[in-house]
């Protein structure tokens, strides 16, 4: 075979990643994503005449822990039947032994890109609330995502929100699931610098993403619970509204409480966080912030602007009448 030029290396690497789907009912179309421990490919399901996404393990797996994690991810997804979570269609092994699962092909754009097109703060807050829904649902089923960030949330063409990449999810109550996703930090070393920043499936790194990862998760503590996702949602909220001005004290207080360093100082769960954001949207007091009298007056004025304007107009009219006819 001929000597390889530099550009051949990438093509060969791709050929080595490409899953052999000949033993499955799917036909390979193209690679659509990479990261963590494997790659994601668009494939066709001729039986149902639809496209699917196939996630396949790429890395060596002598100990079998990566394959177990991929299967766990598929089972977690299968357990979480929610419009905001991608459904799994199939799971199996390729002829070369690599495990894969097929899921709904998500079309749309990343959360941050979708948010950037929303001009107002209320629109962005409403989008954020839609992200909270599947996460709260998963928590109710005993599953913590642990890697919420803008690239793991897609917004579809009809505004539907889908939370992706449950590869490092932690199962708190494991009815029907064999084992937890891995937790904790691996020994630091060279790996820590070479592992990708995305969903750290590389051994030798803390699992999660800096900036969105709760401190207790970054420290690799056992017992990380739903409040780690509350932290990530707080960071996500800050990222979503970051470009709108001005966010205001009450929103800042919500973000601060959600991203408090100590889990016990955060919102206890996602519904509590979402409720505070809803209050903010409705112009009601939020639990994260104790208002001063002038803030309460300003919020009242903002919430009842039309009524106040009518009253002011009425009073001005009365004053004008008194002025004209009272003389």
């Amino acid at each position: 075979m001929r000597a390889l030029a530099g550009e051949d290396v990438g093509r060969l690497a791709r050929a080595l990643r490409a899953p052999d789907l000949s033993g499955t009912r799917f036909l390979l179309l193209r690679e659509i994503g990479r990261g963590g421990m494997g790659s994601v490919w668009e494939a066709e399901d001729p039986e149902l005449a639809r496209s699917v996404a196939v996630k396949v393990l790429d890395l060596p797996d002598e100990s079998g822990d990566l394959a177990a994690r991929l299967r766990l991810e598929a089972r977690v997804l299968a357990r979480l039947e929610h419009p905001g979570i991608v459904p799994v269609h199939d799971v199996g092994n390729l002829p070369d032994g690599r495990p894969f699962y097929a899921m709904k092909l998500v079309r749309g754009e990343r959360l941050d890109a979708a948010a950037a097109r929303l001009a107002t703060l209320p629109e962005r807050l409403r989008l954020f609330l839609r992200v909270c829904e599947p996460v709260a649902f998963a928590h109710a089923r005993g599953v913590v995502h642990r890697d919420l960030k803008p690239e793991n949330v897609m917004v579809g063409p009809f505004g539907e929100v889908l939370v992706l990449d449950w590869g490092i999810a932690r199962v708190l109550s494991d009815a029907g699931l064999e084992r937890q996703g891995r937790t904790g930090a691996e020994p630091a070393g060279e790996a820590a610098q070479t592992a990708p920043p995305a969903a750290g499936t590389a051994a030798g790194s803390v699992l999660g993403t800096p900036g969105f990862m709760a401190p207790e998760q970054a420290r690799g503590e056992d017992g990380v619970d739903q409040r780690a996702d509350v932290f990530a949602l707080g960071a996500l909220l800050a990222a979503l509204v970051g470009e709108t001005v001005p966010a205001g004290r009450r929103l800042a207080a919500i973000v601060a409480r959600a991203t408090a360093a100590r889990p016990e100082e955060r919102y206890a769960d996602v519904p509590t966080l979402a409720a505070d954001v809803t209050r903010l949207l409705d112009g009601e007091p939020v639990t994260a912030h104790r208002e001063r009298a002038w803030e309460r007056a300003a919020r009242f004025a903002s919430r009842h602007r039309v009524a106040l304007l009518l009253v002011a107009a009425y009073l001005a009219a009365r004053a004008a009448i008194l002025f004209v006819y009272g003389r």
Partner: protein
């Protein structure tokens, strides 16, 4: 689950280099030389600014030292990747050579290896026209290229040995055809080789599967732990988008 995915046990070159069996030690060195001589040569030229002759000498000397001074037995997989360790060893060798006022050619009884330095020189001098990457990154890229070339050579042998040489040819045309051009349709390949379309797709699947097995086998040989194995595979397969 790992059956079929990988050989269940890895014959690490690091372990083999420590073996009491001289034949095993030699085979280990051969694998290392095949994967690393070109990265070492280019590294010496790019990082240390050595000319062709001197870089070729230093490359030979490096592999001689690897054996003589038992450098592999000092490698600790918990501290670094083998690839990083070897690069650091090369740097140490060149630094020492620079310190010596008059470096003497050594061989330590080891015959010079038959390596195509002229070919490597031409490639390097072509690449010098577009510099810009760090020596470490270049070492990594050159290593990836060497491992894949070694894998392709073994693939060709393995498939020919099983009477499946056509699969290797199909792979070369379809997956390694001209850059930027779409691969020929399966039907065109089928006609060209006088086989059915399913023979073409099966042949391609077989070649990719075999190449993956061979390349990962090579990586397994050249790594000291599963962690390192995964990290090197991540780099070579571009799993993290590199």
């Amino acid at each position: 689950m790992s059956g079929g995915f990988f050989p269940p046990t890895r014959a690490s070159v690091v372990e083999a280099a420590r073996s009491a069996d001289a034949g095993e030690r030699r085979r280990a060195l051969e694998t290392l030389v095949a994967a690393y001589w070109r990265p070492v040569y280019r590294h010496v030229r790019r990082k240390w600014g050595k000319g062709h002759e001197e870089a070729a000498d230093l490359t030979q000397e490096f592999f001689a030292e690897l054996l003589e001074r038992d450098l592999l037995t000092r490698f600790d997989p918990s501290k670094a990747r083998l690839r990083t360790y070897l690069r650091v060893c090369v740097d140490g060798l060149v630094a020492n050579a620079e310190k010596a006022a008059a470096r003497q050619k050594r061989g330590g009884g080891v015959s010079p290896l038959s390596l195509d330095f002229e070919g490597a020189r031409e490639e390097l001098e072509r690449a010098l026209a577009s510099p810009g990457e760090s020596p470490e990154r270049e070492f990594e890229k050159e290593w990836a290229r060497s491992v894949l070339e070694l894998g392709l050579a073994r693939l060709e042998l393995a498939l020919a040995g099983r009477g499946k040489g056509i699969a290797a040819r199909l792979f070369e045309i379809y997956d390694l055809g001209a850059e930027g051009e779409p691969p020929p349709p399966y039907a065109a390949l089928a006609e060209r080789f006088g086989v059915s379309v399913s023979d073409v797709t099966n042949g391609l699947s077989l070649a990719r599967r075999e190449l993956r097995r061979i390349v990962l086998g090579l990586l397994g040989e050249m790594t000291g732990s599963e962690e390192e194995f995964r990290l090197e595979a991540r780099t070579l397969l571009g799993v993290d988008g590199s």
